[in-house]
Amino acid sequence: MAGPILEVRDVRKRFGGITAVDGVSFEVREGEILGIIGPNGCGKSTLFNCILGQLRPTEGRVVLDGQDVTGLRPSEINRRGVSRTFQLLQVFPQLSVRENLILAGQEHKGSMASRLFGKRDAGLTPEADRMIAFFRLGHLADEKAGGLSYGQQKLLDAAMAFMAGPRMVLLDEPAGGVNLTMLGHLEERLRAINAEQGATFVVIEHNMDFVMRLCTRVVVLAEGRKIAEGTPAEVRANQTVIDAYLGH
């Protein structure tokens, strides 16, 4: 495996008097599947938002491919091949499932001007339909995304993150609300993309079975700080982690 694709250096985020992320540093190596776990409200989602430009870190740097990307806009970071999913549902409710997916891919081809003159679907319908079939949303392809069930929207959100063939995907609780059979399916897919295309994943998840099976390495946060890092097995055995997070 190659060197770090992403470096998070001493990132801190304050909201008024609340310090949500308190000086977190770690690396993500090209091609790995990194898990991030930690109790509720420990700053995982905030950290993602800082990495991806949704929030500007109060302090610290985010380095992508050796370039400082701190404070860049989310769209710019996305166009460097980093996509994400959201913990709370984030789809385009009035657009159909297929349109949601095409949208997720269209901005990655050509320039803004060429898009104006290009095809309506930017040639993405086949890819979108493949995604739809994979996530078993076939009968819903033309339905408005706002009318999907919770789990279906969650899957759609994940599918959107894969549309542009990203190099790295940050997933914020992808398993929440997803049926176990479907989750197994998703897990296989992640592994396959990781193995075949060398894509990197960072996964926030509370489903420990999922994390243990999938991740090659795990970072543990608590109260905004990193408290442990290691292989899933190491982390699982760490007493601090058990006390703060896993329980017995």
């Binding site: 991806l52 949704q54 769209s75 996305n78 901005e107 290009g118 959107m160």
Partner: protein, 333 residues
């Protein structure tokens, strides 16, 4: 079934077109004038429909752009330029100013944005009224001619109506092209969920600015046709009231529906005229009608149609689900 809906739509479109082509033949000069006004207002409302209906950016300044277009044409035409030059200036100027007006939208949204555009609209009106050296102020500009296109004069009401119709056709084709390109989808993304859009690489800044610029340019285009229609340009029509009226056209017709502005403008321009028999009360009746319509269908006229087709589709899907469900027998493990 999808084909069925498509045929239906094509038929409705053809019928509408035929109607627009033939209707002036049965109308008085006044009727033709009103139909021309309808075409102009439709263009302006289509522009706002892009900014607001598709891209979700509230603007109370569309009337100001109609004014900018009208003044550009009036000023340049009185200086003897052939129509095409003032027309291009009107559109280009509105595009540029609309682009600039988009900047505040990057920072504020909703009613705050409404306020900023409202202030802009007020300013534009005051410039029209106060900068006499340019606009002749409150007295207005007169004495420019209706254009001659390919050697054909559009001076008569009928000829000018067809000219308006041609302009409407150009605007329609242009807008159809925009919203049917990936841009259209990006605009809708801006409206539906800007946060998600941003994380998918949609450059929301540029699209926001574009939504304003293109919408405004269409306002300017409408103004460029409005000036020769009235053959007089003064500041009074371009107050905030016009912007609000155009906004109403968009919502009443069906915000975010391509043909919404056509219907909305028809209601706002034609209905009061039909109601004139009620004398002083005609605006009261008109307002009551608009309220009733919105209460009946808050998503506008085309919202009704959309709901209707959606329901048909849903019934089919529902039947399929029921059939699949029926084939599952309850198991007793």
């Amino acid at each position: 079934m999808g084909a069925n809906a498509a045929t239906l739509r094509a038929a409705a479109f053809a019928a509408g077109l035929l109607f627009l082509l033939l209707v002036p033949l049965g109308l008085s000069r006044y009727g033709v004038y009103i139909m021309s006004l309808w075409a102009v207002m439709t263009i302006a409302a289509m522009g706002l429909n892009l900014t607001l209906g598709y891209a979700g950016q509230v603007s109370l300044a569309q009337g100001a752009f109609v004014g900018i277009g009208s003044y550009a044409v009036a000023i340049l035409s009185t200086n003897g330029m052939p129509f095409i030059v003032p027309l291009l200036v009107a559109v280009g100027l509105s595009f540029a100013i609309g682009w600039l007006l988009g900047y505040p939208a990057l920072r504020v949204q909703h009613h705050y944005l409404a306020f900023v555009t409202l202030a802009f609209s007020t300013l534009v009106y005051l410039v029209f009224r106060n900068e006499e050296w340019l606009t002749k102020g409150i007295y207005g500009i007169m004495g420019f001619k209706r254009p001659t296109i390919f050697g054909i004069s559009t001076a008569t009401p009928l000829a000018f109506y067809y000219f308006c119709l041609a302009m409407l056709a150009i605007a329609t084709a242009f807008l159809a092209w925009i919203v049917r390109s990936p841009w259209g989808r990006a605009f809708v993304a801006l409206r539906e969920n800007p946060v998600r859009a941003l994380s998918l690489g949609v450059d929301t800044r540029r699209y926001t600015l574009m939504a304003f610029a293109i919408g405004s340019a269409m306002g300017g285009f409408a103004g460029a046709v409005y000036a020769p229609l009235v053959e007089f340009v003064d500041p009074t029509p371009f107050t905030l009231a016009l912007s609000l009226n155009i906004l109403m056209m968009v919502i009443v017709g069906g915000s975010g529906f391509f043909f919404g502005p056509f219907l909305g403008a028809a209601i706002a321009v034609l209905l009061p005229e039909w109601l004139r028999f009620a004398h002083g009360w005609y605006l009261v009746i008109y307002a009551a009608f608009v309220m009733g319509l919105l209460i009946y269908s808050p998503t506008g006229l085309l919202g009704v149609a959309d709901r209707w087709t959606a329901n048909r589709k849903t019934r089919r899907a529902s039947a399929e689900r029921a059939a699949a469900s029926a084939s599952l027998s309850p198991e007793k493990p």
